[in-house]
Point group: D3
Chain length 329, copies 6
């Protein structure tokens, strides 16, 4: 694959701490019990948290998303038994902790996130972000655009997140993709939204997306079937003519039905199944993914960790489709 | 549509309080944050609660159903993004509060419910009821029959609710449709039951239904597929020869699988998906629906509000298929 | 009592909806099931919510405080069986709903709160506020100061809330009393803080309070005994020489031990008992209380409503010591 | 002690199944893992459940009280380490299961309970009842009166439960002691109520009790101190001149503060501590206790079993003060 | 069917206690409220608990599985409404309680389990086991092998459970089928594993199974469709040439997706639906099932009992496909 | 103080990460957000987890104690506002992670714990242990004895933990102090047990302790009062003639009443208050504490983290009374 990263000279590669060495319930919970390091230095990919929920319209709590996803991620083992991906065979990966957000100031937080991502991706490291609410996609996409130019996006969500304002404010968890379009961060022909549904403030909310050139796949189109065929279409669209245009995956956990992911702030019934969520991510293999996020996991509404466990797994699956990942035969 | 209500002279129509005006987590929780009024006066449709669980065989708690459904309904916005229904464009709708049940006396409660519904529907207002346990369907159907004559019913449930008695009693949440048949309230050829399943006291419980002329669709018939084809058959059957015979929708939340709706009193595994639940309700568009209910939501078993959220959405979808609802192009 | 309000000409006075009329679990949950009205017009006292948690340092969720306190308040009956207070015999009281905060902008929210309270207290109405996080005390005190001049404060809390900044910000739930002192809103000799404890960022945090002239009663001083004697001292101090200087009560639910009030954002062990909390409020009888609040109830951490129930009761007890309340013999 | 039962000829006495024989988490949960038998035949004392909550005014769920108390009771061991009571050294005790209540009919349930207790106590067996809501005290007292004549009562509760009606009904969980007085079941001079508090429908609710001759100890009288001195007074009052007049103990779990017993239907803050609850029960040693109950435990509001554990322990302590219990030196 | 058991002379057969006789929430919770007996004497089939979780790698708690499954099983009625199975028409069934495991010693527990099953199956009784973690399958299979020779297995699980060691130990919940293969307990050509998925320690974990001759059906093969066709293949494989070779069903609840069964110790996303779980069990009708288990239900992670309810139903469905069960026409 | 450690040359000392630098909800949760290091090298004191619950008799789950205590410890700030202790002014402290226990083998785990503590305390580092069930006290005391000779113990607990065996086993969470006495690890005259209560297997369980020379303070002795006077007696007893004999503090969270610490495996009602718990620890100032533990916190029974928060605070308070801690004036 042309976008594979050369990794041979980077060994030894970090490995998740195995349950055979230290029990899964023991030790300090980093993501997948990988080594922690403070920057992305030397990394091909990283897990990074953005504990932030100041843009939330209803139930807050996503500020604890990174911590609970890390806790539930202790169950994860290195190999993907479905796809035979072996990410730790070929990529250097670590948990680089959380962006130091400002707990009281949404504006400063957005700036801090952008600055942090400028640094994280400066060396080409591909971040897998654990949110935080969806507001954070905007500063991340700003950083991505500076580094990579217009970005294609695969956006899984119950909501289009293209409001002009919420409560009169430009910055909120329902506006990031509107801001991104306005600022020219996206290559709109290479944007796909999957899972949109529910009730809306305006009957034509999703039409605005289509007018920008997005491919919009409402949840109802996905019911009762495999999304593998859809993903072929998606890949073709977002990869661009060259096949390796930069693509960002933004996965709002509320894209899934609340039966799979109840712990979120603005749940909408009738969503994707987790099996479809896996098909979407696995379907992105081969793209030039420059980063990905899983957002809107709200631990206070997830007391047994069910939703965080889904998030941890999806974050791992995102790693498995990053360019350069080895696959065992 | 012949049964559309003329609404032009009723403006201004009530609108749900928007999240842009007052945050969703703020304000007193009426259904969808609609205006509250004490009677159905001037209304085309209304939301009404029946807080009652004295007919419950196992887990009680449905008495709190109306309150928690209202709390979770604050997430709902006015437009249906799947069907483009815009109920508040053409119907006058309000939350008329709860029927004042008797907390200690099942017999008196049943009488109070019937009396309340006599008044609610006297002007043709179409009530969408938030239960309460399923016992309440009986007094509601009595009122419906007095106003409209024999009623067709679409009944979604895990249980047939046609027991002769429970624990020796004639009035209980497993008997309402037996009582309704006995009293001639139903047009039995226009009754469809969907989602029945589980274990039974008698092997032939569902046969009794079929003997009355009901169409019984056991849950197993529904597995792994869209119910859109089924709904075409259902519509044809329940609409009657004229196409506008009166139909009542009674939706027991336990018709859905417990993975979607765990907060209920007598859950049965292997049920309908919430996507199928939406297909059922959306499939009723065009009928002369004279009322609908969503029952058996038990908040004490639903601490994160997941089930109540499903109930709130289903109640909204019921509104969207009421006669006279406008659809945006 | 000199500060008793003349109420004879205001009858009929609002009464909480009784459980004998409508079951407690029924109906729309206003505070104590009192009538709702949109302003404080004609009211001697009111319950008002401030759903806001953008100033929270750790666990958010207090935005849902007003809604859950209202839900749990349905258990309350009109008479105080301990003190024989009969607030609805002599005061006109209603639930005036929530301040429309801005869910995404802490600065605008603070302005909105101040503006709202300017209006609420313009007619002398005494608001009992359901928070929200403690940040809201600052804009409320600003409004109080404009109306009444320097205010005495009885402040029950685990934390002194006199930080200069938190995370570099001036506005946060740990800073309201610092801001209030700086702006001259308080009559510092008439300020008492009760229940302070736990760990601190600076060893001398509480000394700053004492330097302003506050009486600081650390939690350890309160252990294992009645606070009735303390309250005599408190009354004397805060009432001022005239005996009727304006006093505001600000009660952070985390002043109580987490065993009584687990549902809060920054719990500290070793706190006051709820019995002591009742002694504190009941001990304020006779003061010219111009308003009161109960803040920092965080429903996501209170799934059975235990903490909200405490909050609802304390809010009722605050009403019972408002000037002009009748007491049954 | 004159009222000690001769037990020597009854050996071998039932013993709770020990954790050393079968792990505490194993086996079918009877009360204390005692043998189950269907009647009180041959028993000195028994544990019996009354799963009933049709008299509940707010939160139901007490119907599951017996089952959850049994589950939590598995932690109990045979000896009382504080008092050295060894009830299984001298009494024959078993779990006799639950009264078969009628889930749908409060009137029939009340009759069934009375009939069941007539049989249980016919041989002098002293029942320790696990409720169920407090309505059940009325039919139990009826049976007690038939067997023993006017009964003295120690009644621990937040509420006096002497309403004439609730919602217009004579039978409800707030009326049993009114009914009992009206029917002459009680020896009113030998009635003590401890822990009353909260808000009331009428300012003089507790005065009615006093007018009947009850000793009423409001919760505030109990705060911050040992109840051992009070219990001396109580014993003297309820034992009657002979010292062995029949006494019934009715313990509503909401007599305790919600911090100790959150899982109940109508919690009131400012209640007794569990230490005081233990002092009350232990303080009854020496009386001619003819029966006892622990009521109003509502498992749906007690997901970790905390309240049921309190109930299980209090039921055991009740056994320890039954006449005839041996004490180890 | 050749392996039908003659049952005519065994009447009267035990029947589950009906909700019409005693309310479902009442009485001591045995499995399905069947009679309890201490041994399998005279039984065709039995329910038996193995409260054990010392082999658990992450979240423990399965020790409480039997107790909570019994509690939730009270909802079950005697007839299977989907298949018309009427197990209590032809089989003598009871709840024989729990194996007395050793709470502190995994080695001794394993021995005790094997010994207990030797006795249970000595008379041909077919046990339906409620676990307990999956370690218990090993000693059960040992007993089965002694009685029946090499066993075919239908193994539903997210994990293959064929690790050589875990944390260096041979006995753990991830090793039972490795041990069973090593000891020759299984007829490997008659072993099918369904639902395997997730992440693994070794990329070739499932290949080892295939090398033994197992048919491995990974979860992804099952997505979005009925498993009825698969079950035809399964039946053919496991029944053996004679059609009545002995088969054991081992059903790890984590074979289901966590949306259906969140209360388990090592949940993996993307699993089977409960509808598929039912198809699997119902698809085994006609086999010579010599026993079955449902394991890894962990009540501490299942506070509303959702997972235990699934387990109770699956255990009932297992009974319905035991040889000799009558089916109503 | 003679046992103060010279610390001047060790600067800069580790400091907890402040909430002003990184929000409390952000970052990887080490204990108090202190630096993590793998050994006790260079440390005066350390926090260390022992995730282990194989010795648990009823509810397991303490294996997750260290992880959840760390999560809740993020609320802690460096200074003790009650005592003015400033431990990070004078001691070098870090979180050294968890002992790698064996999840499946109690015997090997015990060995591993002892070995780990041999290393941790070799340099005089004073460990504050987060359990884990109480079994771990035995191997820790073994290590302590090797390093320091016979140890005095302050043991706070509901249970004496001096059983000879449990279920026939010598190693369990109810036996550690029996084993320690047998092996001569303790200086029995310098052992105090506080908080013992509840029910027992033998009426004379606590007498055995007294026979060894322990001072046993049953919970009932502690009710309704400050323990400060008791602690003077305790100090005198355990300090030994020299005043600096080595003392170990073992604090079972179930020593506290379940209202304060519900999340534990074998809760007993009628326990110590958390205020008394603080008095006990603060009362140990001046002793030569060589280590301390807080055990039996079971997160699965503590979904809102209440109990873990208590544990985190108590662990901090233990640090505050370690020899050499500076106190601010």
């Amino acid at each position: 694959m042309s976008n594979a990263l050369p990794t041979t000279d980077k060994k030894p590669l970090n490995q998740p701490l195995g349950g055979d060495v230290v029990p899964r319930f023991a030790g300090i919970a980093t993501m997948m019990r990988l080594p922690f390091q403070e920057t992305s230095d030397g990394l091909d990919a990283c897990f990074v948290g953005v504990p932030f929920d100041l843009g939330t319209s209803n139930r807050s709590g996503a500020r604890f998303g990174p911590r609970q996803v890390r806790s539930e991620s202790v169950l994860l083992r290195p190999y993907n038994m479905a796809t035979r991906a072996a990410p730790f065979d070929s990529l250097q990966v670590a948990d680089i902790g959380d962006v130091a957000t400002n707990a009281y100031n949404i504006f400063d937080s957005i700036d801090r996130i952008e600055t942090a991502y400028d640094a994280i991706i400066a060396n080409g490291c591909r971040p897998i972000t654990i949110g935080g609410d969806h507001t954070i996609a905007w500063p991340i996409l700003r950083a991505m655009h500076k580094r990579y130019g217009p970005i294609g996006v695969v956006h899984v969500d119950a909501h289009a997140d293209v409001n002009d304002t919420m409560g009169g404010e430009k910055i909120a968890h329902g506006t990031p993709f509107r801001r991104a379009v306005e600022e020219g961060l996206l290559d709109c022909q290479r944007v796909v939204q999957i899972g949109l549904r529910g009730t809306g403030y305006h009957a034509d909310d999703f039409d605005w997306c289509r007018q920008q050139g997005f491919r919009v796949v409402q949840a109802e189109e996905c019911w009762h079937k495999s999304l593998a065929p859809l993903m072929k279409e998606v890949i073709e669209r977002v990869a661009g003519p060259s096949g390796d245009a930069p693509v960002y995956l933004s996965f709002d956990i509320d894209g899934l039905d609340p039966s799979f992911a109840p712990g979120t702030g603005t749940p909408e019934i009738g969503g994707l199944t987790v099996q479809q969520g896996l098909e979407i991510i696995r379907g992105l293999r081969g793209l030039n993914l420059v980063g990905a996020d899983i957002v809107e996991i709200s631990p206070p509404y997830d007391p047994q960790g069910t939703t965080a466990l889904v998030g941890a797994n999806l974050a791992y699956e995102m790693l498995c489709v990053m360019p350069g990942v080895a696959y065992r035969s």
